[in-house]
């Protein structure tokens, strides 16, 4: 799977972008040249040797804040995606197998979650559990989970009715066996697509929540928070929001590219796509005629 993703150009670009972001998240706080929280008298300064990306309205070094904030931002969105995955995908798969009652219950819960007003729910939960990034992300994860529920349930339904699952059933396979052996592999690609997409969404959500003051408390930097504060001073530094915005966009784009690449290489259709591309490439490489076979269909 990994090799096939890397075989596509989009896959390579996506992996490149995402590993760069991951590196930022791991090493960012260490690399930050200055204290991201220290204020200086020179506020809203332009880029210079000491402040590569200038300073913000309190005179803090923007470059250091960006690096410092990357860990929180990335961790936040990954947390959203993982919570959504666990809360959504597992019941989604099991809803096909664990009988009518479970199916009915999970479907109604999913509908309820979709219907819940996002902000009200988020504010209520932070009031209950305290205002912090993990709590906020838990809320977001749960609210995004119906996506995973639906995707995994639809994929499982398609597989569960297939003859090879029936064949395994006739051979005495238990539900666990059927899921591990036949269902999981087919359901994984669409879930991976949803996951990559959710990581992208997670970034935007973390950013917008910070924007609203939910999740991350003001002095601590995040990409979304930077974007928010920069937007307040648009008149003084019109270019400032561009950098955090570009980082957020790059990550979301990388995630979506990865999602597309996963979709393209997974399953029967994916294999054919990759094979035909390889065949075409080989044909371009060599001018020798291929052996003539009779296959037409």
């Amino acid at each position: 799977m990994v090799r096939r993703i890397l075989g596509l150009r989009a896959g390579r670009v996506a992996v490149g972008i995402l590993s760069a972001i991951a590196l930022l998240a791991i090493l960012g706080p260490v690399l930050a040249p200055q204290d991201p929280l220290a204020t200086r008298p020179e506020t809203l300064a332009g880029p210079s040797w000491s402040h590569w990306l200038g300073t913000d309205y309190l005179g803090r070094d923007v470059f250091s804040r960006l690096l410092e904030g990357s860990r929180t931002s990335v961790l936040g969105s990954v947390q959203v995606a993982l919570i959504a995955l666990v809360v959504g995908a597992v019941p989604g798969i099991l809803s096909v197998y664990l009988g009518r009652a479970f199916e009915w219950l999970t479907l109604r819960v999913a509908d309820t979650l979709i219907a819940l007003p996002f902000l009200v729910f988020a504010v209520a939960v932070t009031a209950l559990l305290g205002n912090g990034l993990p709590q906020a992300m838990l809320v977001v994860g749960v609210l995004v989970s119906p996506l995973f529920f639906r995707v995994s349930r639809a994929a499982t339904l398609a597989v569960a009715r297939s003859q090879y699952v029936e064949a395994a059933l006739i051979s005495g396979g238990s539900v666990g066996w059927l899921v591990r052996r036949h269902v999981w592999g087919k359901v994984l690609p669409p879930i991976a697509v949803a996951l990559a997409q959710t990581i992208g969404t997670g970034f935007i959500v973390v950013s917008s929540l910070t924007f609203l003051g939910i999740g991350v408390q003001p002095p601590e930097p995040t990409w979304g928070g930077l974007l928010a504060s920069d937007l307040g001073y648009l008149a003084y530094q019109p270019w400032a929001p561009a950098v955090p915005a570009a980082l957020i966009m790059a990550t979301v784009w990388g995630s979506n590219l990865l999602a597309d690449a996963i979709r393209d290489v997974s399953g029967e259709a994916g294999r054919t796509l990759v094979n035909s591309r390889r065949a075409r490439a080989r044909r371009l490489d060599s001018t020798e005629p291929l052996t003539a076979g009779g296959t037409t269909r």
Partner: protein, 351 residues
């Protein structure tokens, strides 16, 4: 067992490469005869992706009321040839040489618009899986009236009337009821009839039946084969029957093309090709067919004891097993003169 099966497979084996084409078949005629509704001359089909030739020269001519069969294993190019004739080759394939004339018109330079005019009104087709060729969310009747209204310019009322006539003509038991039904309400055999009704709605001269009976039950297959024979008899419809079942071809066709790996290895009248095959590959196909063909298990000469007395007739055709040269049953007229004289308008008079 009596009957004259093909020569023993281990007798003289001609070189594989030799293409046996019956001299009587005028494949090299410079100008297709006026009577031919479909003339395919040395058609070659090329795969443009890997630059490989897939079909290496197919030629045949089809006169009104004539039935030609194409046999061969899967991948032999039977279906591609048909698709080329219909102008619906997959995107990466193209006719690289040869010519196809439909009703005297060379289809090589047809525009999309001219193609649209030609399809359905001159040449039409039915395929293996009827359900996938019909829209599940529309009543089947409206899918036939669509053809009638677009092709023949009939009004709503007239089109409905004619569609019901057509449904009756393909021998559906309750045409008015079927008209208002949906795909999921009909069985495979009924859908294939609906599809045939739609295909002949605009009075085409040629109908291509590509494995049209393969997915059907034997009893239903027999009904569809009867229907096709009937159509050819009544309206002089010319048929191209593609099948991997030699028995189907034997029952319906006047002429047979045997294809292997894109090449026509043998071509001639059905009696010659299927009962006195000359090419080793044809013989192989026949041997394979006969190994589990029903004929092998029928106690040939003794007609089956008709069960209880109500049986109308013992299956008389069984008794004719010995006369292998005339495999067709009596009610299928074989003489071209008779067929050509049948009036195409006869169908209009049906009920």
């Amino acid at each position: 067992m009596t009957g004259t099966p093909p020569d023993k497979p281990d007798t003289v084996v001609p070189a594989d490469a030799v293409v046996l084409v019956d001299a009587a078949v005028p494949v090299d005629a410079a100008v297709p005869g006026d009577s031919a509704v479909l003339a395919v001359r040395d058609v070659r089909i090329r795969d443009e992706i890997n630059d490989r030739e897939i079909v290496h020269g197919v030629s045949f001519e089809l006169r009104p009321g004539q039935v030609i069969g194409i046999v061969g294993e899967s991948g032999s190019g039977k279906t591609l040839t048909c698709r080329a004739v219909l102008g619906i080759l997959p995107e990466h394939l193209a006719v690289s040489a040869g010519s196809i004339h439909i009703a005297g018109r060379d289809i090589g330079g047809l525009t999309e618009r001219e193609w649209t005019d030609l399809r359905a009104s001159t040449i039409s087709a039915v395929f293996q899986d009827p359900a996938s060729y019909l829209n599940p969310s529309l009543k089947v009747g409206s899918q036939i009236t669509e053809v009638l209204r677009v092709k023949l310019g009939l009004g709503r009322r007239a089109a409905r009337h004619r569609a019901i006539e057509l449904l009756a003509a393909v021998r559906l038991r309750d045409p008015e009821l079927v008209y208002d039904q949906y795909v999921f309400e009909l069985s495979g055999g009924m859908l294939q009839r609906v599809l045939i009704a739609a295909a002949i709605a605009a009075d085409p001269q040629v109908l291509i039946a590509d494995e049209a009976t393969t997915a059907l039950d034997v009893t239903v297959q027999a009904e569809i084969l009867d229907l096709l024979a009937d159509l050819r008899e009544r309206i002089g419809l010319a048929l191209v029957v593609v099948s991997h079942d030699l028995a189907v071809v034997a029952q319906l066709c006047d002429e047979v093309l045997v294809m292997r790996q894109g090449e026509v290895v043998e071509h001639g009248p059905t009696e010659d090709v299927l009962y006195h095959p000359r090419h080793a590959y044809t013989r192989l196909l026949i041997t394979e067919h006969e190994q589990y063909g029903l004929e092998r298990y029928l106690d040939a000469p003794a007609p089956a004891a008709p069960g209880p007395a109500e049986s109308p007739d013992p299956p008389q055709s069984r008794g004719r097993a010995a006369q292998a040269e005339q495999p067709e049953s009596a009610e299928q007229p074989k003489s071209p003169e008779r067929r050509q004289s049948t009036d195409r308008k006869v169908l209009d008079g049906v009920r």
